[in-house]
Symmetry: C2
Subunit: 587 residues, 2 copies
């Protein structure tokens, strides 16, 4: 039905007869001539109808925005004076000779040009209109190209695409499962996978050697912080490998796709132990583009007569840290108040600071509400350790380590952006040597990654001192976002049982939940490991979108609903009866 895409026409097509199909993006009347901007997936082109072509002119006169038309015409160069350099097709126009109306359109509920005019709810309800916007479509074209590049890169490294089940058993990632009632086994339920973790390990036991999948995963969580009930992972696993192999494979894959899609050569991927990342940046996914660092000063303040500092300084679970902002003396009182509010989101009870107005002037050159609580030695120690210079500002965090890390870690990013300190475009990083477990408030241990991650110690050491055990896990971080994470897995039943034991999982429970994995490890499981990337987040980061919803064709709202299809919806009582379930009333 078409000879060319609208957006592909260029000066080189001058004189050619073309047939185009698309949507009327805009229609203007000017000097007795009708101008249509015709839009298709490749872009826009201007079509001109003059009254000479009586029939076509009459039809063009009747079309409105978003009508669907087929146009015949001849490409011609525009006059120099009216060339439009902001349009890819701006050197030419099409002189229309025929027009067929393929479909009409009601007036869209929002302008396709202006993003901000319509709220998210209405844009999701009419998602098919929102998706018509060229800049939105570009993101999906990017996503498709990225997926293809990822597949190519992995297949070139011998990875084999294998599909794992969506209807499966509850998996142990810790989040809430989506359940699917079974009709043929009333009272029983499938779970949608939170990841293909156990299946990919089974594929390694099966000798598949190198597996990958672009896999849909599901988590029934409360949708804070830009999450979606279903999301997509680039999931991979390999046998007879160690962490260096997996890091090399995936780093090379990420390098390839950045080079191919963004023409970017990524810099070195440094490796940083988890402990160092927390110490220097308060985060296990530090944004290394921001040259601000946390400095521990607890030892300097353990004996000051100021409980806000000395309390956490003497608490084994506490932390007292400083964050020096070069040139921060410029930060106004009001800005500091804003930052104080900002860190309170993370539980910080305040935000102490010192402005170093004049380092040479001793305490007189310092400006701070807390100066009076500190000894001269402590002040001197802080200035030295942070490397403060005249004009700098030092922020303080003192609380449980978790709160200090989150608050100063986030403040570091915020101040870095506010003050234009961001250096470079892309700062990748491997974070390694994670603790195997973290302790919950009730003293029990939980796996920091998941319980199939291999510890770097022996089973005996693990059980004797779970808190000291490190894991063979690794996270790839880019610009402060975790792109993906993985680990070498446990391949021996004894180690797997030791981890379950440390987690307080009884033999019976282990057998019931993971019996098939424990079985599999008995029959010659090879050493193996892998990694999973969050595809949505990777696309978001690479396209510069603000939300993963911008790179998912039909996303859900914050309450996990779809305004377009009205899902979820009520179903018939017959369906429920067939499934052997009932809806609880009044709950």
């Amino acid at each position: 039905m078409r000879s060319h895409y609208c957006g592909d026409l260029r000066a080189a097509h001058d004189g050619e007869q073309v047939t185009l199909c698309g949507w009327v993006h805009r229609r203007r009347d000017h000097g007795g001539v009708i101008f249509l901007d015709l839009r298709d997936r490749a872009g826009l082109v201007q079509v001109v109808f003059d009254p000479d072509t009586q029939d076509a002119f009459a039809r063009a006169d009747k079309v409105r925005s978003e009508y669907v038309v087929q146009v015949q015409g001849r490409v011609r160069l525009r006059d120099e004076a009216v060339r439009n350099s902001r349009m890819a097709t701006g050197d030419i126009e099409v002189l229309g000779t025929g027009l067929t109306l393929l479909n009409t359109s009601e007036t869209p509920p929002f302008e396709l040009d202006e993003r901000t005019a319509a709220g998210e709810e209405v844009r999701l309800k009419y998602r098919y209109l929102d998706l018509r916007r060229p800049e939105v479509q570009a993101n999906f074209r990017f996503r498709s190209r990225l997926t293809a590049a990822v597949r190519r890169a992995l297949e070139a490294q011998g990875f084999m695409d294998v599909e794992t089940p969506i209807l499966t058993k509850a998996t142990p990632e810790g989040a809430r499962d989506y359940l699917v009632p079974s009709r043929t086994h009333p009272g029983s339920f499938f779970a949608l996978p939170q990841s293909p973790q156990l299946f990919k390990q089974l594929l390694m036991v099966a000798g598949f050697d190198r597996y990958y999948q672009i896999a849909k995963c599901f988590r029934d969580e409360d949708l804070r912080a830009d999450r979606q009930p279903e999301f997509t992972q680039i999931d991979l696993e390999a046998s007879f490998v160690d962490e260096n192999d997996i890091m090399a494979i995936t780093e090379s894959m990420v390098r390839d796709v950045f080079a191919e899609l963004l023409n970017v050569t990524l810099p070195e991927f440094p490796r940083m132990p988890f402990s160092e990342a927390m110490r220097r940046f308060g985060s296990d996914k530090p944004d290394l583009r921001i040259p601000l660092e946390l400095v521990d000063i607890g030892d300097l303040l353990a004996n000051v007569d100021f409980k806000v500092f000395s309390g956490p300084a003497n608490d084994p679970a506490g932390r007292v840290a400083a964050l020096r902002v070069p040139g921060g003396c410029e930060i106004s009182r009001k800005e500091i108040d804003d930052y104080t509010k900002f860190v309170s989101i993370y539980g910080a009870k305040g935000l102490a600071y010192i402005k170093v107005n004049d380092l040479a002037a001793g305490n007189d050159g310092l400006q701070s509400p807390i100066l009076k609580f500190l000894t001269d030695d402590a002040i001197q120690g802080i200035l030295e350790r942070t490397g403060a210079a005249t004009g700098d500002l030092i922020f303080f965090g003192a609380d449980k380590a978790k709160i200090v890390n989150e608050a100063l870690g986030a403040l570091r990013i915020r101040v870095g952006h506010d003050r234009g300190l961001v250096q470079g475009d892309w700062a990748p990083l491997w974070v390694v040597d994670f603790p195997m477990f973290e302790q919950d408030d009730d003293g029990s241990w939980a796996a920091l990654h998941h319980p199939f991650t291999k510890p770097s110690c022996t089973p005996e050491e693990l059980v004797a001192n779970p808190g000291a055990a490190l894991s063979r896990a690794y996270d790839m971080v880019l610009n402060g976002t975790e792109l993906g994470g993985g680990s070498i897995r446990i391949h021996e039943p004894t180690m797997q049982r030791a981890v379950f034991k440390a987690l307080g999982i009884s033999d019976e429970e282990a057998e019931e939940k993971f019996g098939f994995l424990l079985d599999a490890l008995k029959f010659g499981a090879p050493p193996h490991g892998g990694l999973a990337f969050g595809l949505d987040r990777m696309v978001m980061l690479m396209t510069g979108c603000e939300s993963i919803r911008d790179v998912i064709a039909f996303p859900k709202t914050q309450t996990a609903a779809c305004p377009l299809t009205q899902a979820p919806a009520e179903v018939s009582s017959r369906q429920l009866r067939e499934l052997g379930i009932a809806v609880r009333k009044g709950e």
Copy 2:
């Protein structure tokens, strides 16, 4: 951990030091020397340990089947006399110098060599062992390569990979939906998609122009006839196209993958109207490799004094047909009895036949239990119309057309195979001009494809005579299997409403179920159409497997359960409470 894959070693590697990883496939002691067949994903290689290499020999002595080992050694040519031409690596062996035990294995519950030894239940329970068999792995490698080839072929034609939701609204494909209770909207349910049909149409309305997806689909049906609760479609859709465009695109894709993966140049794809396929082959997916055809003879038998024939011959819903088998006089009485049993599966109440022992001898040359019921004219007419020759056998079907078509259609395939009549390896075909609707027993109309298929008539004609309406649908058939099906879709709200009306769907119901589609059609929907292939079936056909379970990594049983993970399983009452549902007791 390895320098080469076991299965990749060849005579060209003679003299090289190698490090291999894999499973002990077999271990033999022979003349004081230990032979290990080491297996990895690439294949097997023989490793020899002689007592000179004391340490390695001692370790090799202790390994058993399916132990996981790393081996160092040197490749050497085998003596001419012991070369093994049935093994890809049979010209060489590896002289082992070191062996590291990576994991032990219990004795597997079944031999990995012998397919038939173990039942399906135990093979699915230990699926990771069953998947170790080289011939099974080859199928999955094929599947991965096929998927990659399909993606390449479609992307080269401008198709863009877009993911559509898994948690969505009940779709109208007619089969039973899998439901997912919503926690955030108690009493409401998501449905897993039976296909991405409506989403891909919305993507066309959105101007995506060419979409494809390798998409997981779900149907909660009773698993007769080799179906699975979840299966995979190659799904595609394009805008501004007619049926010839879609057929050309997909035919080219299938040609490409057959050429690339099987080195097969597919013959022409003839097009056959649905009515012709039913008339000649009793099937809408005829296997054209079999040169047997049904011939209508109802008109010849309308007046015979034999109700078995004259009844259906005079019934507008009946059919009387003959199937001539060249040389069929050889078919024994016992074989005919078997065939009679066979057609009874399809509801046929018997299987009449005539053996043409000697055409020249008139009725005396014929052998048949029904001859006495037929007039000479009828007999003569049958012989002429079927083109019978001496030595042929003619089978008869007389019943409701549906039963005759299914019974003789299936018999045609069976006899064709039994008598070695199959011609050629691959016989592709397009079936076109399907009826828009089929009538249920209660007289109501149902869509033969789905209600979004575009009829080839006007909305007025459609409503006036639904039974006469043809659709713009097309099925790709290969060797009697439907590889895929599709259609041009309705893009105008008036036509869509006419189809709903013909189907007896009220405006309210249409609005509730498909309101979002009807809305979308109002805002400038382009002409569009598409097709979906069954990927599992395509892989099965191309690999020569007997069941789609052989090409799905973790399939379900006939009762939709997974013996490996024990899914579906009971869940905690806390989970059910959170979802606002309860299990009905005693039902």
